[in-house]
């Protein structure tokens, strides 16, 4: 009797620890991905600025700038999408005024998170395959393995799955940030 209770308590405690770990990991990964996304946005802008400068002022166009900017962009978009999921920013169809101002988590909660989970799992699994397959190919201008830009999509899917897991394991704590 007593033993069973302590066992159950231990189990509950372990689940709580797990939830706390997931929430912690989700928060840390989010901080890193937001910082990286901001850096990529800055990098993309600077690269394009250099492209304009070299074309019109120095008059010797750069060969690699467009490609580099595009790959920064792909990673920026992916990491941004992942961070947006944690903040509940991906829009749903607006039927009725319930969804307004995004406070609370209305209908999309269970079904939406489940659909998102299935979709993200597919993207993660097949995305890694595609990225691995493309490691042998190199980009035309920079000679970068194409797997590097391709990896952005499944990476984002994995980060989003982590955010969803953190939200599921500790439903009381809102994962959202202001």
């Amino acid at each position: 009797m007593h033993l069973a209770r302590t066992a159950r308590a231990a189990q509950a405690g372990r689940r709580k620890d797990l939830a706390r770990a997931a929430a912690w990991l989700s928060r840390q990964v989010d901080r890193v991905s937001m910082a990286a996304a901001a850096a990529l946005a800055a990098g993309m802008t600077v690269t394009l600025g250099l492209q304009v400068l070299f074309r019109f002022v120095v008059r010797s166009p750069l060969s690699w700038s467009e490609e580099l900017a595009r790959y920064c962009f792909v990673w920026l978009a992916s990491l941004g999408a992942a961070a947006a999921l944690r903040r509940g920013l991906h829009p749903a169809l607006e039927l009725g005024t319930t969804g307004q101002q995004g406070r609370g988590r209305p209908r999309w909660q269970i079904l939406g998170e489940l659909s998102a989970g299935v979709f993200l799992l597919v993207v993660a699994v097949y995305g890694w395959r595609l990225a691995a397959f493309n490691m042998r190919q190199v980009s035309p201008a920079m000679g970068l393995p194409m797997g590097v830009p391709y990896a952005a999509v499944p990476t984002a899917a994995c980060v989003m799955l982590l955010h969803l897991l953190a939200r599921w394991s500790s439903p009381g704590e809102d994962g959202g940030e202001p």
């Binding site: 937001m34 996304a37 901001a38 990529l40 946005a41 800055a42 993309m44 802008t45 394009l48 600025g49 492209q51 304009v52 019109f56 467009e66 900017a69 595009r70 962009f73 792909v74 920026l76 978009a77 992916s78 990491l79 941004g80 999408a81 992942a82 961070a83 947006a84 903040r87 920013l89 991906h90 829009p91 749903a92 169809l93 607006e94 039927l95 009725g96 005024t97 969804g99 307004q100 101002q101 209305p106 209908r107 999309w108 079904l111 939406g112 659909s115 998102a116 299935v118 979709f119 597919v122 993207v123 097949y126 995305g127 395959r129 595609l130 830009p149 391709y150 952005a152 999509v153 499944p154």
Partner: protein, 424 residues
């Protein structure tokens, strides 16, 4: 395969699943059902995002955010006030004109509504304007932003339809100014009916001071449009130049930008970009499935088979889009519908640049059509006015916007004259 992908996506959407996941899962189901490899899904997402043209989106968002953080917004509102504040109901006109100035930089309705609204709504309340009216005019005037270049919805249309983005930008200029003029007409009528006060006229010295204060901010659209118009920059490069311009002015001239504010602008850019680009990726997957089964071509043949004149088809398309635009934001609506509608447009001999202006204007009207829409929500949050109350003050502005839509639909020259000057 198309039917399954489309229907399951639609059902998920109606159940309230966020748009990218509803469409993404629908497309995955469609591909799986069609026996196609699911790597295609990721392939489509990636190749849609790997686009030089679409890079203009984060850059214009960043330029708009920097403009806001760097004190340009407030100076532009000051200039509008000096110019039209003296009219009866002056602050209504100031609100509309500010949106014209803003739209030369940001190109997103909700961003404009929040920038103008947060400055002007409190000011309007202090000056004795009804709160509902202040909110309604802010929301309605935010429509101008995505029509006057640069414009994020126009970029999306251009990429999806394979039309020159520079031409689309130019095509939006006259209809955008027409919309502003029409809304100012309504504002004058409302001001007379409600007996609103006229503002104090600015002296010529004050006007000069306001002009000098706002000169750098007002010069930004010239850099963007002049560069594109002169064929110097691609729209993406022009957007990058706009970012550096906003950075230089906010930092060196206005001295209001600092590292923290720049970081905030970059973070905002990352989130907005993530939301838009995920949507673009998954809708591209759906569009690929539809194209594989020739759904757009079949639709074009069916519509052509009806024997309707292009004018009638445009009317029907407009009505349909107005309805779709209420629950759906312009970005996903454009992404889903442009590939489906393009073969029909070409078959009927409608100019795709003109159709782009009609479609964007139509869909952004949905942003302010009650009871839902991004601009309404932003304004309701800033002004704390209930949406229903805002609706009552909004309807004359909404009605005139729809009238402008019809004029733009049936007078193609309004859209096509300016791009025709720029040459082929």
């Amino acid at each position: 395969m198309s039917a399954l992908a489309g229907l399951s996506g639609l059902v998920l959407l109606l159940l309230g699943v966020p748009i990218p996941f509803a469409i993404g899962l629908g497309s995955a189901l469609g591909l799986g059902y069609g026996g196609l490899p699911l790597t295609l899904l990721v392939q489509r997402i990636f190749s849609a995002q790997d686009s030089f043209h679409l890079m203009a989106i984060p850059l214009f968002v960043l330029a708009g955010a920097l403009m806001n953080e760097g004190g340009m917004s407030e100076r532009l509102v000051g200039l509008a006030d000096a110019l039209v504040g003296r009219l009866r109901g002056g602050l209504l006109h100031v609100n509309i004109l500010s949106n014209v100035f803003f739209s030369g930089i940001s190109g997103s309705a909700a961003a404009d509504a929040s920038a103008v609204g947060s400055i002007l709504i409190p000011g309007m309340q202090r000056a004795g304007y009804r709160r509902e009216l202040a909110a309604a005019v802010t929301a309605a005037a935010s429509l101008i932003g995505p029509i006057v270049p640069p414009s994020i919805p126009m970029i999306l249309y251009g990429v999806e339809a394979g039309v020159s983005i520079g031409k689309l930008f130019l095509a939006g200029a006259v209809p955008g100014l027409l919309l502003a003029a029409a809304q100012m007409g309504v504002a004058a009528w409302v001001a007379r009916r409600e007996g609103l006060p006229a503002g104090r006229p600015a002296s010529s010295r004050e006007l000069w001071a306001a002009l000098r204060r706002a000169a750098w901010a007002a010069g930004m659209p010239l850099v963007i449009l002049g560069g594109i118009l002169g064929g110097v920059f691609t729209p993406t490069e022009a957007a990058a130049v706009a970012v550096f311009y906003a950075l230089a002015v906010g930092w060196l001239v206005h001295r209001e930008l600092n590292a923290a504010r720049i970081a905030r602008a970059l973070a905002e850019t990352a989130l907005t970009t993530g939301v838009v680009m995920l949507m673009i990726g998954v809708t591209e997957a759906l569009a690929w499935i539809l194209a594989r089964e020739r759904v757009p071509q079949v639709l074009a043949e069916r519509v052509a088979g009806l024997g309707w004149s292009p004018g009638l088809v445009l009317l029907a398309v407009n009505l349909l889009l107005l309805l779709i635009g209420v629950p759906l934001e312009p970005a996903p609506a454009l992404l889903i519908l442009v590939p489906v509608l393009m073969p029909m447009v070409q078959r009927l001999g409608i100019d795709p640049v003109h159709f782009g202006v009609v479609m964007v204007l139509n869909l952004v009207i949905g942003l302010v059509t009650p009871p839902v829409g991004a601009s309404i929500f932003v304004v309701a949050a800033i002004s704390r006015v209930p949406i229903l109350a805002m609706t009552r003050a909004m309807w004359p502005f909404l009605a005139v916007s729809i009238a402008v839509l019809l004029v733009v639909t049936y007078v193609p020259a309004l859209s096509l004259w300016l791009p025709s000057l720029a040459g082929p």
